[in-house]
């Protein structure tokens, strides 16, 4: 039997993996991917709670999140492509013109 806790633990693991990715990766593309993981971890716990409580509000929120995530990916990828065209790299350590 798969209970709420299983979902939550999975969600937590996904979140942790995403966080780890954000902190350790230097490639902008991979950081974007990790952000998606974070969002999906949140989505998973939303859905799990919605199911658990027999209430659709959580699922509605997931739709919103997915829309936002889609937009974010679209823009993020566009930025990444533009960056690559101008700088020929996606290494975040080298992209530092806006620092200070």
């Amino acid at each position: 039997m798969i209970t709420l806790n299983h979902y939550l633990i999975l969600s937590g693991c996904l979140f942790a993996v995403g966080m780890y990715g954000i902190m350790t990766r230097r490639n902008a593309l991979l950081i974007l991917l990790s952000v998606e993981l974070l969002l999906n971890a949140a989505n998973l716990s939303f859905v799990a709670y919605a199911r658990y409580r027999g209430d659709l509000t959580g699922q509605v929120f997931v739709f919103f999140t997915m829309v936002v995530a889609a937009c974010e990916v679209a823009i993020g990828l566009a930025v990444a492509i533009l960056l690559f065209r101008t700088r020929e790299t996606l290494n975040t350590d080298e992209i530092n013109t806006l620092k200070w």
């Binding site: 966080m19 902190m23 350790t24 975040t92 530092n96």
Partner: protein
């Protein structure tokens, strides 16, 4: 009536402001503004006096609050009673005379307008003390008087002696004023303990009337307030500034350092006498200091060659008399002597000014034989001299003998000191008068009598110095705090005989040149050395300042520079800088590090929260 009182007070200030602000370049207008304002003040004072005399001298008071504190209202007002009315008349009356005299004496002086502005400021400050309703106002004007005195002593600031004398006067009186201020603060706390926090004279006198059981506190307050008197009225040991203050123009010496300002201390004693009568021990200390000052000042006057310095020491000595009278239990006797002294001492100083004006020297040994050449000055000076020496029927005789009689009944040792001082006074004044006016002439350029504007004040003052004893001032000023004084015939005759003997002696020695003192020369020379050195008081203070105060100041300076500036101020700055330098390393600029710090923080907080539950 009270409106007139306010007007009397503020007219001189108005003159001062107008002169300083508008007419500094127009000397004639400045001088007439100052004279006019004070003369008008005098006129109003006379009107006030007559008007209030018709009502039997009620005590009138009006005040505005300048600083409302939580428990204490600091007020500024006008108080009119017998005491302040008499003092108003003295200050504005003698002041007007001296103002007019100054217009001639100061002719062709570079700082003519400045001089009259300062004089007006002084008149304002002095009147402020006179009409003051409370200790707060008195203290403010007390300091203002100090400032204007400083300005006037240092009028010829290009001369180092004058500038130094001004500073000395200001600082020495400040020493006493510190005590005065502490006394005022203590008094206000005592009043609070008795139920009503106030500094108002009338309220205090009622409050302290049933303030038994605070004797030691009252003694402390009295002595601290008396510290202010010590400074302003130049009593021992703060008397050192007054002789030096003679560096100022002679009319200033007459007005400030003889007639009015130095009398402020005695006036304060009389005004706050309700306080002093509560502490007999403080009174006896005050009497002792007064007597001591009277005696040592008289001895110092014996050897001075400078005409103004002789008069300055004489002033010290007479102020000692007044303080002694207050200490012995009669503020009215002190005030009586203050008024008569104001007349004859202002007269003597103005006479001296007239002589100096004619001969351009201050040493009495370079004068001589002036009686024929300057008859008006000589005759008026004679009146002042005899009044000061206490010869019947001139004013000084009455006021001085009142004090001597009081001392005779209350405190015998002080009576002998007073009598000795009276003898010395008559002797040194005889020495001055006979040397200047009756001995062989020692000048080369023929001197002339001074202009009319200078001699008229002399004649007026001589008139009042002569008849001052018949005005009944003693009984007029008598308050219920004062001891009654019964005439004692033997004291009166004795002191008169003393004075006359001294005058005769000085006549023989200085006018007829009979060498009576020759056989005693050996005996006197060490003593006169001591007297010329002013009992080494100035040297003592010099040494104190040089060795004690300077070293202490150096120590404070070191503490300030090493501990305060280097240790505390720069230390705080250094610590902050160092901490900032360390903390800066956290700001790496790497977003991922921030993300790590953020998530680590959230994790830790969550953990902590869970554990705590």
């Amino acid at each position: 009536m009270l409106a007139l009182g306010w007007l009397v007070l503020f007219l001189p200030l108005l003159a001062c402001l107008v002169i300083a602000g508008v007419t500094l370049k127009h000397e004639k207008i400045s001088s007439w503004l100052a004279c006019g304002a004070l003369a008008l003040s005098f006129l109003f004072s006379v009107i006030l006096f007559i008007g209030l005399a018709a009502q039997g001298f009620p005590t009138l008071q009006s005040a505005v609050t300048v600083l409302p504190l939580e428990h204490l209202r600091l007020e500024f007002g006008v108080l009119l009673d017998r005491l302040s009315l008499i003092m108003l008349l003295v200050v504005t009356g003698i002041g007007s005379g001296i103002f007019f005299y100054s217009t001639a004496y100061m002719k062709n002086d570079k700082g003519y307008s400045r001089y009259f502005a300062s004089l007006s400021l002084f008149a304002f400050s002095m009147l402020g003390i006179v009409v003051s309703t409370n200790f707060f106002q008195t203290f403010i004007f007390w300091e203002l008087v100090g400032v204007s005195s400083y300005l006037l002593i240092g009028h010829w600031y290009q001369k180092d002696e004058a500038a130094d004398a001004g500073k000395k006067a200001f600082i020495t009186t400040r020493v006493g004023d510190v005590g005065f201020l502490i006394g005022i603060l203590l008094l206000s706390s005592l009043a609070a303990a008795l139920g009503k926090q106030t500094l108002d004279f009338q309220a205090l006198s009622e409050l302290l009337g049933h303030g038994a059981g605070h004797e030691s506190m009252l003694t402390a307050i009295c002595l601290l307030v008396f510290c202010g008197v010590l400074g302003k009225s130049a009593q021992f040991p703060l008397h050192v500034w007054l002789p030096d203050a003679m560096e100022g123009p002679t009319p200033v010496s007459a007005l400030i350092h003889a007639a009015t300002m130095v009398a402020a201390g005695v006036y304060l004693l009389a005004r706050t006498y309700f306080l002093f009568v509560l502490s007999p021990s403080a009174l006896s200390i005050i009497a002792g200091i007064g007597g001591f000052t009277a005696l040592i000042a008289a001895t110092m006057a014996l050897v001075q060659p400078d005409i103004k310095k002789i008069l300055a020491y004489s002033t010290l000595s007479q102020l000692g008399y007044m303080v002694m009278a207050a200490g012995l239990g009669s503020s009215s006797a002190a005030m009586y002597h203050l008024v008569t002294h104001a007349f004859f001492k202002a007269l003597l100083f103005l006479g001296a000014g007239s002589v100096i004006h004619a001969l351009h020297t201050q040493s009495i040994w370079e004068m001589g034989g002036l009686f024929r050449k300057m008859p008006v000055t000589a005759w008026t000076f004679l009146a002042g001299f005899l009044a000061l020496a206490g010869v019947y029927p001139l004013s000084g005789f009455f006021s001085k003998d009142e004090i001597l009689t009081l001392a005779f009944t209350v405190n015998r040792p002080l009576f002998w000191i007073g009598a000795g001082t009276a003898f010395l006074t008559a002797f040194y004044m005889g020495r001055l008068f006979f040397t200047v006016f009756l001995s062989e002439p020692k000048w080369e350029k023929e001197p002339h009598e001074s202009p009319r504007v200078m001699t008229v004040p002399l004649v007026l003052l001589a008139f009042f110095a002569s008849i001052g004893g018949f005005l009944g001032l003693g009984t007029f000023l008598h308050s219920h705090y004062d001891l009654p004084i019964a005439w004692n015939f033997s004291v009166v005759v004795g002191s008169l005989a003393l004075s006359l003997t001294a005058i005769l002696l000085s006549y023989l020695i200085y006018a007829l040149d009979i060498p009576l003192l020759k056989p005693f020369e050996k005996l006197f020379s060490p003593a006169s050395g001591l007297l010329l050195k002013k009992y080494y008081m100035d040297d003592l203070y010099d040494a104190l300042v040089k060795h004690v105060q300077q070293n202490f100041a150096g120590l404070c300076d070191l503490f300030e520079r090493v501990v305060v500036v280097k240790g505390m101020v720069n230390g705080t700055a250094g610590l902050t800088g160092w901490a900032g330098d360390r903390l800066r390393r956290l700001q790496t600029g790497k977003v991922q590090f921030y993300a790590f710090a953020f998530s680590a923080g959230v994790t830790l907080i969550t953990l902590f929260w869970i554990v705590l539950r």
